[in-house]
């Protein structure tokens, strides 16, 4: 059990490239923190710095009230699950899990007991004598988790552990990881580029881009009040509609909008109607370009009829009844559902 605190952490590579540009994150005891961002945003680097696999150029990383900057990975009391699982290919599942305990000189009976217990929790008891190559992707994933939990570390680190699994298994494992983490109440840091995974797993969501933190908050906080246009477009699927206000006739519709240059509106907050918005909200005339039906909901893609160059707007419609292609429709949203962003991409408090 431990807190993990990052204070103004930076990483500069010898070539001068700054991968991490000063990050502050505080993860409370037993919390599940997810680092999410597009590839190359520095999230994996940051995780590897916590693990001790990358050096820290400046700043401090603290695990359980102890600054670990110069402490070896082995002595940080962490366990890591790698993207490719990194199982020892020449060892059986049992030995894969026992390896870390043996290295620490734990007595044999205790190793045996811990490995069996972990295997029971993960339902891999039947696989203990197999080699990793005889396992399926999902089973390898479980063994990698088992190797992490037998150590009973202070912190679990996950580096995109589900990205090699197929879609169905990924969802199942996602739920299992969450349940397991709740049960063990071990502080966890989890890296992913999948915003859905991030939303469903996190207690604290850290959205990163280009080596900086764009926003930290609970998943719903981040969803409902994105701090920047980047977060707005990254979290949520389909992403939030972002409309440039410069030179748009929407400026008039909105009336007082401060210094906002970009208007954001989630696809589910738009409603197709024949009337108009009424409450001083937004009304967009759209010509339907495309329709996607996914069963319980449909997505209507359209462009504002009179502005050919403008970005496509996505509207989420419940059910399967959608307008026909080429039809002109009116999409409205109430004022309360609009997000306004300033010239620097930051959210303006409405």
């Amino acid at each position: 059990m431990a807190n993990v605190t990052l204070r103004n952490v930076r990483k500069t590579y010898p070539g001068g490239f700054e991968a991490i540009k000063g990050i502050d994150v505080a993860v409370g005891d037993g919390q599940f923190c997810v680092l999410v961002g597009p590839s190359g945003c520095g999230k994996s680097t940051l995780l590897r710095m916590v693990a001790g696999l990358e050096t820290i150029s400046s700043g401090e990383i603290e695990i359980g009230e102890r600054v670990v900057n110069t402490i070896e990975p082995a002595d940080r009391d962490i366990a890591m699950v790698f993207q490719n699982y990194a199982l020892y290919p020449h060892m059986t599942v049992y030995n894969n899990m026992a390896y870390g305990l043996r290295n620490r000189g734990m007595p044999k009976p205790e190793i045996e007991q811990r490995v069996r217990e972990a295997a029971r929790i993960l339902e891999i008891e039947a696989l203990l004598d197999r080699k990793p190559r005889q396992l399926s992707g999902g089973q390898r994933q479980r063994v990698a988790m088992g190797r992490a939990i037998v150590r009973q570390p202070k912190v679990f680190l996950f580096d995109e552990p589900l990205s090699n699994l197929d879609a169905k298994l990924r969802i199942a494992m996602r739920v299992e990881i969450r349940k397991l983490q709740r049960r063990l109440a071990t502080t966890s840091i989890y890296v992913t580029h999948d915003q859905l995974e991030a939303m469903t797993l996190a207690d604290i969501l850290v959205v990163m881009n280009g080596g900086v933190v764009e926003q930290i908050g609970s998943p719903l906080e981040v969803y409902h009040r994105p701090a920047t246009t980047f977060v707005a477009s990254f979290i949520g699927a389909p992403p939030m509609n972002l409309i440039a206000l410069e030179g748009s006739e929407l400026r008039r519709q909105l009336g007082d909008h401060g210094d906002a240059t970009t208007l954001g509106i989630r696809p589910e907050d738009l409603t197709l109607t024949s009337g108009d918005a009424g409450d001083g909200g937004l009304a967009l005339k759209l010509r339907v370009d495309a329709v996607e039906r996914v069963g319980p909901e449909s997505f209507v893609y359209g462009r504002p009829g009179d502005h050919q160059g403008e970005a496509e707007i996505i509207v989420r419609v419940a059910g399967e009844h959608t307008p026909a292609l080429g039809e002109h429709v009116l999409a409205v949203a109430s004022r309360a559902k609009l997000h306004l962003f300033g010239r620097d991409g930051r959210r303006l408090e409405p």
Partner: protein
Amino acid sequence: MHKNVVFQHRWLPYLLIAPQLLIVLAFFYWPALQAVWQSFLLQDAFGLSTTFVGFENYVELIRQPEYFGAVIRTFVFSALIAGSSLSFALLLAVMADKPLSGSTVYRTLLIWPYAVAPAVAGVLWIFMLHPSLGMVARGLRALGLDWNPLLNGNHAMILVVLAAAWKQISYNFLFFLAGLQSIPKSVLEAAAIDGAGPMRRFWTVTFPLLTPTIFFLIVVNIVYAFFDTFGIIDAMTGGGPAKATETLVYKVYLDGLLGGNLGSSAAQSVLLMMMVIVLTAIQFRYVERKVTY
């Protein structure tokens, strides 16, 4: 994943493999068959008459304590070469695998000895270790060691092994480096997090994962020591002193070409060929079974 290519023309496939087949036929099967036939014959001292003697040449060989001595010597020689060149190459590869600047330069330098002709390699080492000419030999004498490979059989053996192993290090190094680089970095990182220090990491993770490479190289090195060291031995010691460095291949040459005993020489080369076939067969079986851990 099997894809069978079907050729339109009936003779095209045969035509395509013909050049390779002709070369193998002319330079391996033909002389090999000749050697087998020759091994059943006995020529008189002047080469005027030849008689078929069946397995007599083989029986004669096996009865000879000298032949037995050469077999033992060849095994010792091969084991020394394989052992020393493999362990030294592994050490170099582990060092070169570290992320250091200028790695391409020294990796290239480490590979160069492989391009040196065996006889040249032999001469190089003679210059260093010749009892009266060599710089290193002078140093050894200064240390009170009576170094003389011209008279002392063990010294001669050390000298030949040094030169032969040195030449083979580059080859082994290349394979070890490739082997090391194919070990996923994350596996070693996982071991580091699992609390294994660098030495323990090497012996419990890196080394076991290299075993297929090591096994392959052992076979290659033994075959090398059996056959390709002829040039080195010929240039350095000529099999001497007192047969101390006379390996099986060299004995084939001495008995056949210099001694004129073609029948016995042929029988020896057939036996050698059989040993290599066995070695290669073991290698193929083992590699197929063990290549993916």
